[in-house]
Structures are given as C-alpha cells and as structure tokens.
C-alpha cells in the first residue's frame, strides 16, 4: 500500500460524516420540535426497509433461479424473511403508541412507512446519480492521456 492510501478508511469516514454532522448540528440549533419521533422513525424505517428489501430480493432470486434450474428453496427462504419482517412490524405497531406516528391504524402506518421508504429511496437514487454522474462526466471528458515512454 502506498503512503497516499495509508489510513484512507479514517479519511473516508470523516469525509462522509463531517458534512452530515455539520448539517445536523446546525439543524439542532434551529429545530422547532425536539424531534422526539426520531427513534420511532428510525425503527419504522429499519423494519420497513428490511421487509420490502426481502420481498424485492425474492424477485431478484426468481431471476437468479432462471439460470439455476429454478430452485425453490432460496425463494421460500426470502419469502419467510419478508413475512417475518411484516409480522414483526405489525406486532410492534399494534403495541399502543410504541411505533405509531400520525396515523390512525396499524395498516395506515404500514402503508405510510412504505410510501416514505419509497420517497427516501428516490432521494438516495438522485444523490447517487448526481455524485456518480458528475464523476463519470468528468472522467469521460479528460483529454486522452499521453503515452509515457521510459527514457532509454
């Protein structure tokens, strides 16, 4: 490993974390409500993304099965994973106000979580398109690199 690459993991964590921490730090000084619903949101987002990702990965496994004589076992495995995620979500949502936000019923909260997850996913996709798009566009616009020959 070259000198330049030494400790790159720490630099990466700092680079990703510093702007996020700065934004959240400034935001905490101007927040209207102390966002007491943050933990609830975190848990709802985690359970929802686990459940939906399990179902989406199950569909991907069906495509994977096309190339492997259609095995059923992995599909059943991911189906069970998704169903368990949905049941755990429904269980915790039905425990009074533990994970409920501004919705009147467990079903409404689950549907709201699903739409919110889709919204977050679209936002993450736009962020990815912007950053990787800028990098790709710049890389593709470099002039052709000169051929370097070692001195004879």
């Amino acid at each position: 490993m070259t000198d330049r690459a030494a400790g790159w993991q720490l630099r990466l964590v700092v680079a990703v974390g510093a702007p996020t921490a700065l934004l959240l730090g400034v935001a905490s000084s101007v927040m209207a409500h102390a966002s007491d619903g943050m933990l609830v949101r975190f848990v709802n987002a985690g359970l929802t993304s686990f459940t939906l990702a399990s179902f989406i990965l199950m569909v991907l496994l069906a495509v994977y099965g096309d190339r492997r004589k259609r095995p059923i076992a992995p599909l059943v495995g991911m189906l069970v994973s998704g169903v368990v995620g949905a049941l755990v979500t429904a269980f915790f949502l039905s425990q009074g106000d533990l994970l409920m936000e501004d919705n009147g019923s467990v079903r409404a909260q689950m549907l709201s979580n699903t739409v919110r997850f889709s919204t977050s996913l679209l936002a993450l996709m736009l962020s990815g398109v912007l950053t990787f798009g800028v990098l790709l566009a710049t890389v593709l616009h470099r002039g052709k690199a000169p051929l370097l020959f070692e001195e004879e």
């Binding site: 990703v16 934004l23 966002s35 929802t48 798009g133």
Partner: protein, 277 residues
C-alpha cells in the same frame, strides 16, 4: 341507508380505488422495472416495460383519480419532482457521453443541451425551496417532497466528499474530478445551510431542520434494514448452495480409451502415418 353507513361505504369505495389506482400500480412499477432490467426473454422485457410505464402514469394521476386518499400526495410529489430529476439525469448523461467514449459519442450540441438541462434542473429544484414552485398538496407543503428534499440535502455532501477521498486515494492525476466532486459537495452543503438560516416563502427553516433530523433517522434506519436483508439473503444462498448434491463424478478413461487416444494423437503428430521418411 343512514349517514354512518353511507360514509362507511364511501370510505370502502375510496380504499378500493386507492388499491387499484395506487398500490397495485406501485407494486407493478417495482416488479416491472426489475423484470425489464433482468429478464432474459425479450417479450417479457417489453411487456414489463409497458406495464411499469402505464403503472407510473396511474400513480402520477392519483391526485385526480383518488384525491381523497392520503396516498395521492405521493403521486403529486412524483409529478412535482419528475421534471427536474429527468433533466439532471439526462443532462449528466449528455455531458458524459459527449466526451471521450469510443462508441456512440454524442455531438457538441448534445453536450451544450446537457449543460442547459443541468442548470435548469438545479434551478428548478432550488425554486421548489425558495421560489414559487414549492409542491403544496392540497393546501400545505407536500410532506413527501420535504422528506425527499431533506434527504437529498443531507446525503449528497457526504457522498460527494466520500467519493472525493476515494478518487484522491486511488486515482492518478484526477485533480479535475476531485475539484468537481468537492464543488458539488460544497454547493449542496451551502444550500442546506442556507435552508437552515433563511426561511423560504412557504418552508420555514425550523420545519426544514426538523425534516433534516427525520431524514437522518430515515437514512440510518433504511441502511440498517437493507443491510439486515442482504445478510439474510447471503445466509439463505449459502445454506442452499451447501445443500446441493455434488455432481456425479465420471470414471476415468479405461486402458482401451487411452490406447485409442494414443493412436489418434500419434496419427496426427507423425503426419498421419503416411511413411514418407
């Protein structure tokens, strides 16, 4: 029929409409996109693309088809952001592929059009925060747009700065790339800080600050959930692959087979045994 029964019936009707005009198309968009991208069968890919496209239009039209359903706010949000997002995506594509690509290089006009699209898309998004274009539905700022915008503002600077570090560490002669990534990260960070310092015409900085913290909870929760699902997928595949019976091993060649191979090889090596030597 009394009033309570009537409203109950209307509620059920609204739910059925939301199911057929929002939720089922939503599922069809996801399934159709996956099949269109990954299926080997060309007919399946074409049908899946058509179904996903038609479903997208159905979801977009929910503010008119099922205005009573809370889900219609998502359709309104999608309709509000699809313009700038497409402009940004196509703009970056045009700029990138008008560069040094060996095949399918776009023209200089395409590149200029891409730059215009990028500028218009960015200004459009900014005008949603500080201009007259804030998505409001029905009379308030659309909550889904707030989630979307705060997530973009929160994630992009960190992602850009992280990518900058990776390019700096592993790339050679990539100063221009580093500068552009730094500029992107810094610009979006400044937009976020400005949003926290200055009220928009319809979006107060305190509301934006709340949304940023909730977006952080959303992003971290989503990351944890996705990681857990991937771990489960890896475990499921590992268990399945371990249970597969090994393929039957064929017996080695017999003496007779080896002799035959030897004969064939010799007949080729010595020129077919024509005996010209």
């Amino acid at each position: 029929m009394d009033y309570k029964a009537t409203t109950h019936a209307q509620g059920m009707e609204g739910q059925s409409l939301a199911l057929f005009l929002f939720w089922l198309p939503g599922v069809a968009i996801v399934a159709g996109t996956i099949l269109a991208l990954l299926s080997k069968n060309g007919t399946v890919r074409r049908i899946a693309t058509a179904v996903a496209g038609a479903s997208f239009v159905l979801v977009l039209s929910t503010p008119w088809t099922v205005p009573a359903s809370p889900s219609s706010a998502f359709g309104h949000f999608l309709g509000s952001v699809v313009g700038p997002c497409v402009l940004l995506g196509v703009g970056l594509h045009n700029i990138g592929f008008s560069g040094n690509v060996p095949v399918g290089r776009l023209s200089r006009n395409d590149r200029n059009a891409g730059i215009v699209m990028l500028v218009v898309g960015s200004v459009w998004l900014l005008a949603m925060h500080w201009g007259p274009l804030t998505p409001t539905y029905p009379n308030d700022v659309n909550g889904y747009w707030l989630v979307f915008w705060s997530t973009v503002i929160l994630v992009t600077p960190g992602l850009g700065a992280g990518l900058l570090v990776l390019v700096r560490t592993f790339g050679d002669e990539r100063r221009t790339e580093q500068r552009r990534l730094g500029l992107l990260a810094l610009s979006v960070l400044l937009v976020g800080l400005a949003g926290l310092a200055v009220n928009g015409p319809t979006l107060l900085s305190s509301v934006f600050a709340d949304a940023l913290w909730l977006a952080a909870a959303d992003v971290f929760g989503t990351a944890v959930g996705l990681s857990a699902a991937l771990v489960v997928l890896a475990l499921v595949l590992m268990m399945y692959e371990r249970q597969i019976m090994p393929p039957p091993v064929a017996d080695g060649p017999s003496e007779q087979d080896l002799e035959r191979v030897n004969d064939i090889l010799q007949s080729h090596v010595d020129g077919g045994g024509t005996g010209h030597d």
